[in-house]
């Protein structure tokens, strides 16, 4: 019964002609709600900001865990931030032999079947979500897909291409080389890229320049009253510290960060600078003095931590847009990035707000430079804050989305 009511709402919002009812928007994303993950947080913040402009619903899975996709939430209708969320069941967890499927699909002589098996094995395998898009997707004026890589987008977008907008959150990785992703980048009516660098990479790989697109990204909400002292006192920290916030794992470059940091401290014990890690750890953290793991922090704590750091370190190579890097800039702090990450190094250069290292020696030099000359860090940080205020504001992001969707609607009417 409730399903029927919601469907009706979506339809009435689509009355043709110049009436004042809001256009309808369905957001498709692999997980939604109180879940970790940059793309998922991105999706949720966009939904909240687009709410005043669209009759909006979310289609997602009943899982919160991207490693297993176990169905730990109830399938069916849910409400989050006042938005109807349709959770479709993940019918099987991520394949136990996913690594095998990954290896098969990524090796040179692989077949189309290897690619299809990889997409299914990677999941989240939620065929009912596809059935919903098949039957009801065209009741919405727009369908916004987050993240190019997962099953709901790869198999869902081709069901509603004429009304689809994609937020790829793409970066260089093996999967993006698969042929299976070509329709995802050629099929939608428009693409909302996060950064110049992401767009350039996608164009180079897919030659899909003809698809309408904008650099959209996100807005950064900056809380008032950031307090570095409060953070230091709460966690018993003295002296300068480098900060990392996010998932701590191999794919995030955490191992290299530990190695670089340890080498620097060993060769240069005079600089008593700690490395503070915030976030869930998927790998063991070295029991070296100077490395402090605080686990997950609430928003206030996180912003206090950002405000107080000598520099924020983002060693990940695989980012399409690092929200926390933008937040570090918004907090007025400089950022240290790996020069091999095109997005982060490109953004740091454009923002004039970060330093990029190639290897341990340069990492050490940069850390010394920033701890010896705090004024330099402050200057870079201010430049970063200006960059974020210029580019990553919600009014600009919302306006860009509204314009993109209006373009899609104009073609459909």
């Amino acid at each position: 019964m409730r399903l029927a009511r919601v469907r009706h709402a979506a339809r009435t919002a689509r009355r043709p002609g110049g009436d004042l009812s809001e256009p309808s928007l369905l957001v498709v994303v692999q997980r939604y709600g109180d879940v970790p993950g940059g793309a998922e947080a991105h999706a949720r913040s966009v939904v909240q900001r687009l709410r005043p402009h669209f009759a909006i619903e979310v289609a997602t899975t009943n899982s919160t865990d991207y490693l297993t996709w176990k169905g730990d939430l109830t399938a069916g209708l849910d409400q989050i931030d006042g938005v109807t969320v349709r959770r479709f069941p993940v019918e099987r967890p991520r394949a136990w032999n996913f690594k095998l499927h990954e290896r098969r699909a990524f090796r040179g002589g692989h077949t189309l079947d290897d690619e299809r098996a990889f997409i299914d094995a990677q999941g989240p395998y939620a065929p009912e979500l596809l059935d919903f898009l098949f039957k009801r997707g065209r009741d919405y004026d727009h369908v916004l897909f987050f993240t190019y890589i997962y099953y709901p987008t790869v198999l869902g977008l081709p069901l509603v291409p004429e009304r689809a907008v994609l937020v790829p959150t793409a970066h260089e990785e093996s999967a993006i080389g698969l042929t299976a992703y070509k329709p995802v980048f050629h099929g939608p009516r428009a693409i909302a890229y996060n950064t110049e660098e992401e767009r350039r990479m996608v164009w180079r790989r897919f030659h899909n320049e003809r698809v309408s697109n904008e650099i959209v990204g996100v807005g950064i909400d900056i809380p008032l009253g950031r307090n570095a002292t409060r953070f230091r006192e709460k966690h018993g920290l003295t002296g300068p510290y480098l900060l990392y916030v996010g998932r701590i794992g191999v794919s995030k470059g955490s191992r290299e960060l530990f190695a670089h940091y340890q080498r620097w401290r060993a060769s240069d014990p005079a600089h008593d600078v700690s490395l503070v890690l915030v976030g869930d750890a998927e790998i063991a953290i070295p029991k070296t003095s100077g490395i402090v793991h605080l686990g997950r922090l609430n928003e206030q704590d996180k912003w206090d931590a950002l405000a107080g750091c000598a520099a924020f370190v983002m060693p990940s190579l695989l980012e399409s847009l690092s929200l926390v890097t933008l937040e570090a800039w918004a907090a007025g702090r400089p950022v240290i990035v790996d020069a091999r990450s095109p997005v982060l190094a490109g953004m740091a250069r454009r923002a004039g707000a970060g330093l990029a290292y190639r290897g341990a020696a340069e990492f050490a030099e940069i850390c010394e430079l920033l701890t010896d000359d705090p004024a330099l860090g402050d200057r870079l940080g201010r430049s970063g804050a200006d960059f974020v205020a210029r580019t990553y504001t919600w009014p600009r992001v919302v306006e860009t989305y509204v314009d993109l969707f209006a373009e899609v609607r104009a073609r459909l009417s």
Binding site: T111, P127, F134, K135, E162, P183, H186, H207
Partner: protein, 378 residues
């Protein structure tokens, strides 16, 4: 890329593909990827798999694995007319065939070595599954008409993916745009190019039929699918209403034809006889509702014969209107339309001839083809 290829292959889009391959081969390096099937229903193996040459065109044939499913018609009825699921529609595509995994792998691996890939016929798996492997260099020559399968799930994305479309007629372009809202993808209306008619002699047919009144010709597959049953009924009504003449049916016969003196079924005829019949005829009738390009109309106009087409078919009605070479009729209005066309045979036939000369001359066709290739080649 086309589902079947070769001089002996019968089929509108397949013939078009072969003409295009040969025209393009005059100024491009052209290869054809296709299957080893001759028959579009069973997809039974016929040609040897592997590479061969068709004049200047290198042909790569890939094996069809498995024949068309014997339950295909049931599955099709289910997805077209009954409540069904997404998976049913997806399964339908594979059942229809021709399932040719080697061709798809070839496209995935080697597709990037071609500047442009022209895909023929939206409906079959080699296009529906193959074009998404190389969208960045693909043109779709959809040969679409207003039919139920066009709404099925495998085609939702297909029509959004190519870099350009080649349409056979303006009506096909309008249909595709209305269905898929993909006006932003550039397109070219290709039509077709025609060789001048071969030597032929219409006199024997004229001498034979003219004593009995006008000779009305149908040329093509004689089947219900082509609405020849409706034509026969219309003809009978026309005769009962006092009309005179003979209805001659030339083409492979796949339906029962009433035994009457005024209806003659010749079966398949030679190319010379075809043109002799076309020129001897007072009018050509094309009753089919589903033609994506009435080539036989163009051939009739080449020899100055006017045409009558079903008003139900927007494509052939559009062709007749553009050429000023005949008339379209509604069911029940056949006799009246025929009389009108016969009364102006010379004027209508001449108008058709002038139209064909301008539109179907090779230089005009080649220019349109090169424009399509230029839209795709990057």
């Amino acid at each position: 890329m086309v589902q079947r290829y070769g001089a002996e292959v019968v089929g509108g889009s397949e013939s078009h593909a072969r003409v295009v391959a040969h025209r393009l081969a005059m100024v491009n390096e052209v290869e054809v990827a296709t299957t080893n099937a001759l028959d579009y229903w069973s997809w039974a193996p016929h040609f040897p798999v592997g590479e061969s040459m068709d004049g200047p065109v290198r042909v790569r044939r890939f094996a069809v694995t498995g024949l068309r499913s014997p339950t295909f018609k049931d599955a099709e009825r289910h997805v077209l007319f009954e409540a069904h699921t997404r998976s049913d529609e997806e399964a339908w595509l594979a059942m229809q065939g021709p399932h040719t995994p080697g061709l798809l792998e070839f496209l995935r691996r080697e597709g990037k070595d071609y500047d442009a890939i022209l895909f023929y016929t939206y409906i079959y798996e080699p296009t529906a599954a193959g074009l998404p492997l190389v969208p960045e260099r693909a043109a779709l020559i959809s040969t679409a008409h207003d039919e139920e399968p066009l709404g099925l799930v495998p085609y939702r994305a297909l029509f959004q993916l190519p870099r350009a479309f080649g349409f056979l007629t303006p009506e096909e372009r309008d249909l595709v745009h209305a269905r898929f809202r993909n006006e932003h993808i550039p397109s070219e209306v290709l039509g077709i190019g025609l060789e001048p008619p071969p030597w032929h002699d219409p006199e024997p047919f004229r001498e034979h039929y003219s004593p009995r009144g006008p000779l009305v010709l149908y040329l093509g597959q004689v089947s219900e699918g082509k609405a020849v049953d409706e034509l026969v009924a219309d003809w009978v009504a026309h005769r009962e209403g006092g009309g005179a003449g003979s209805l001659v049916l030339a083409g492979t016969t796949r339906m029962a034809i009433p035994e009457r003196d005024d209806i003659v079924s010749l079966g398949r005829v030679s190319d010379e006889d075809k043109y002799a019949l076309l020129e001897a005829a007072d009018a050509l009738v094309l009753p089919s509702h589903l033609e994506s390009l009435g080539i036989v109309l163009l051939e009739a106009w080449q020899v100055g014969t006017p045409c009558l087409v079903s008003a139900k078919n927007k494509v052939t009605s559009g062709q007749v209107a553009r050429a000023g070479g005949g008339a379209s009729y509604e069911r029940g209005g056949f006799g009246k339309a025929l009389a009108a066309v016969l009364a102006q045979r010379e004027r209508l036939g001449e108008s058709g001839r002038v139209y064909v000369e301008a539109e179907c001359a090779w230089p005009a066709f080649d220019t349109r083809l090169e424009q399509l290739v230029d839209l795709v080649a990057t």
